[in-house]
Symmetry: D2
Subunit: 328 residues, 4 copies
Amino acid sequence: MIEVALFGAGRIGKIHAGNLVRQPGVRLKYVVDVDAAAAADVAARHGATVTHADAAFADAAVGAVVIGSSTDTHADLILRAAAAGKQIFCEKPVDLALDRARTCALAVAKAGVTCLIGFQRRYDPTFAALKRRLDAGEVGEVEVLAATSRDPGAPPVAYLERSGGIFKDMLIHDFDVCRWILDDEVATVYATGSVLTDPAIAKAGDADTTAVTIRTRKGKLCQINTSRRAVYGYDQRFEVLGSLGMLAAGNHRPTEVSAHKASGVSVDLPEHFFIERYRAAYAEEMLHFAAVLRGEAQPRTGIEDGVRALEIAEAATRSWKEGRVVAL
Amino acid sequence: MIEVALFGAGRIGKIHAGNLVRQPGVRLKYVVDVDAAAAADVAARHGATVTHADAAFADAAVGAVVIGSSTDTHADLILRAAAAGKQIFCEKPVDLALDRARTCALAVAKAGVTCLIGFQRRYDPTFAALKRRLDAGEVGEVEVLAATSRDPGAPPVAYLERSGGIFKDMLIHDFDVCRWILDDEVATVYATGSVLTDPAIAKAGDADTTAVTIRTRKGKLCQINTSRRAVYGYDQRFEVLGSLGMLAAGNHRPTEVSAHKASGVSVDLPEHFFIERYRAAYAEEMLHFAAVLRGEAQPRTGIEDGVRALEIAEAATRSWKEGRVVAL
Amino acid sequence: MIEVALFGAGRIGKIHAGNLVRQPGVRLKYVVDVDAAAAADVAARHGATVTHADAAFADAAVGAVVIGSSTDTHADLILRAAAAGKQIFCEKPVDLALDRARTCALAVAKAGVTCLIGFQRRYDPTFAALKRRLDAGEVGEVEVLAATSRDPGAPPVAYLERSGGIFKDMLIHDFDVCRWILDDEVATVYATGSVLTDPAIAKAGDADTTAVTIRTRKGKLCQINTSRRAVYGYDQRFEVLGSLGMLAAGNHRPTEVSAHKASGVSVDLPEHFFIERYRAAYAEEMLHFAAVLRGEAQPRTGIEDGVRALEIAEAATRSWKEGRVVAL
Amino acid sequence: MIEVALFGAGRIGKIHAGNLVRQPGVRLKYVVDVDAAAAADVAARHGATVTHADAAFADAAVGAVVIGSSTDTHADLILRAAAAGKQIFCEKPVDLALDRARTCALAVAKAGVTCLIGFQRRYDPTFAALKRRLDAGEVGEVEVLAATSRDPGAPPVAYLERSGGIFKDMLIHDFDVCRWILDDEVATVYATGSVLTDPAIAKAGDADTTAVTIRTRKGKLCQINTSRRAVYGYDQRFEVLGSLGMLAAGNHRPTEVSAHKASGVSVDLPEHFFIERYRAAYAEEMLHFAAVLRGEAQPRTGIEDGVRALEIAEAATRSWKEGRVVAL
């Protein structure tokens, strides 16, 4: 039985806890959160104990940690977990500062522990099936990735100010998808952005609408268009053109009802936001982490994937701010 | 805490057990099955005890039973559960014999217990959403129901011989959907059927392909077409025409990947069969049963719904065999 | 150059005229209509001459007639055209009276002329492609046809009173599709109908909503559901189940625009009514007639197809009125 | 009656001729082509006369010209037509050289004649309906255009060598769509491209796969991804995000048949190539030109639209070759 300490009992922490406890051979032992009530709630629900970070790291029986606390705590917790020889699952991003993320990667490598970064899209049933079919050669050589990634609405400006900017906060997922799907490293990035939804976002030094073009070392092309506001819901689609055809991943809808009325023929809006859209992905992600912990699976990603995505996000930010193409 | 005894540890029993144990305020106490190994497996998985029917019914601490054993045991278990004053969830059909089903209904009424029949389609997210929208008047007065109900392949003939025939075994779900969606009782039934997939089915006295027309008391019309064999998968769709439009329920697919190749543009086949297609429906069904047990919800259906569906199935069988319209 | 006389310069006559004059080797010589202004308009548009029926039949240079006048004139014009040895295209139905339609068929056979009946659905690109794929064996043995056939709104009651009833006026197209797609003759018909849209239709002795089940000699099954009122537009779909799969024909939409808004995701309504939906079908139909006239194609249908569809319509009417299954 | 001279009797010339002769008040008088047989064929089909350019321009009865000859003849014919005071329809591009295109624009302006450039996509029923809905404010302020534009296969390298490159030859249509849909002028262009389908294309100095990002003066964003090879057919889609939602234009398919088989659920490939996909657009385009000629409509576009699209194409070419963002 592998015992796990969970850091962060907020929205994402609760999801990870619920998925983790279903896995055979794994037990949630501790919950750590600055919000004592939140920690107590998650702990009670799953028969775990509330504790402090020091105690959790000090307990030799704890074999792994799940880090779902706020971004500014990630690096410190990774470093402490690595030092304590514990297996790690950490939400994205590793850190907002690239050098600090790299320090974490070195520490993880030195400690020889697993460090899965929470790029849950890789576990989404639709995206994962598409990737398997690409890998099986169904559309030949992969040439172009075109991704649409839109949130239903912008978070509060106070959040945006601490988020590291749209490229690190939101597109980091898309950058990971780009590397994963194109199976190649990024050569150049061109990013442009606008503020079209709320002038306060401009004041915060951020953009709310972006268009990014990535060129890989082998000359594959990737286009990503994002917006903080798609009033019709969370829009998460991508298409992959290959020499033998195209595979496309569409949105998920809550039901398969269609309505045919004088005013039009309509279907459901996409799943509302990431919690709904990626529910299955979060479950698969924790299933994978548990399999890794039990020694039954090799980790599909590592902390270096988190670092790479951050490198692209940083290049994109620079490209946008300087109005030029940036080489990695 | 309401303690529950499960009868039947086969495929459907396992599903109900897994869904039941997630419900707050409910505990799976006993598992009963003639197959001792199957019972032990389910019991072990959920911390329950294997026992015999007599012991389960005799235990005053048991407040409810879930009956997922073979069809020929349903009526006896319902009668015993009613006599013991236990709340009941029972898989369809109540019994293959209409008079025996009616006897059960009388016993349940006399005992004053709940008896939900396992018409899981009523809990399917797509079908339930459609029904809610009908009830909200979105398409006005409901006029016509057109349903397509096809299995991916026929069960073994040995099964069919004991199944009560295609109308009681397979269409009973569609007959329940008809009553539920049209919100009216059946006036006449016309059913015709053919054997088009396997001559052995004809020898067994059954049909594998049917076309049924139902007319309700208010003159609403329902058409159902079924087949034991749709090589493209489990086809479960229906459309409802109303005075202000149509609501249609489409199939569910495992993923939202589309493939665009020289040979065509394709999407996933529908979910393979009822276990996959109605996974969410089974979960909702047990959630509802638990809510009823806790006194937080009124039962949405009763044993009389099971009896009514059986009456239609019997009328359809007679219509098919005698080649005439049958009035109820 | 084959010279043609057109009878009927109304809506459908205009369409046939416009399609006819595009065909090589064919010339529209005469237009005949009781409405002189309508006849003059069509004649002027296409360089033809307005004349009377007697003159048109007497002109030996006229090799063919297109009959698009009112239903009560069809039989007489067919008989005169056959007597004059002219090739015939006639709108459906041949006549509302089955014996008179049979008299026409005998006359046509005796005269040895072609008599295409205007079942334009056979020429619709979607339906025709589906039929070719069935004939190529793509889904194996054809087993079941399920058809939805709905008009956007009912015609005036005054029209309905002279229409022969919904089965002869509206479903006659579906009955022809049934014979064409199932490639088998009808053994039994069961039809039921209701008046759900307008009580005046009941007074006129007609139904506005019907459900028909047809069983063919080989045991294939067909279900048709119709309504005079689908507020979302002209709904013309059918599905064919075969031993190796299903082919389905969906509605056509004016454009491929989809709208994604907070209120839902929607696409265009189906093409409004038969003029729009079957525009391409009407063009293909006249192209085929011209090819037959030039001796380059065998007629795909004959007057006997018109008689057969009428036989089914009459059986359906009787089935509905008498509440019983009718054998043909 | 406005008499028209057609220059070019090749594939596109034939289409324009067929559409032109259907317009009231317009007559095709002359056909001019270096290929005498082609000219004779088109002329015979429509009752026109084969002649030479000099004669056509000299005939004062000729009020308009349709230029569908090879690209290198466009500018000269525009200049001569303008000098002769004739109304002009000319296929894209005006010329491969921007300065020469500008010279044409000046001449047209000076002559005060109409000069429609053949951006037929503006007349496509789907695209035009989408644009009307944008203009009606259905999705609020337009923010982002994401376009996919792919040919089924590359033309011969010999063609590519004289084509002006992929940006002028193929994307010029997309650049026009960008200006039309975003209703704003281009501020910056970033284009990148690869050769992924055939090394011979690299030798010819061209790309076969491109990703373009355009930023307009108001900060609206446009992404275009193109390929010379989509083995599944001609892929012509775009999506427009606005403050109140998204409008998307999907591909057109030849039929609405869907096939449901053990191997998958599939629909038709998109229309094969531009001749099929834009058949209705070409008809609408000539209908518009005729309406302009009759003085019943204002020209929707002018030669300046041709010049602007060329400016963007030139900027994109430079961006791609120099690996940098180019401002217009």
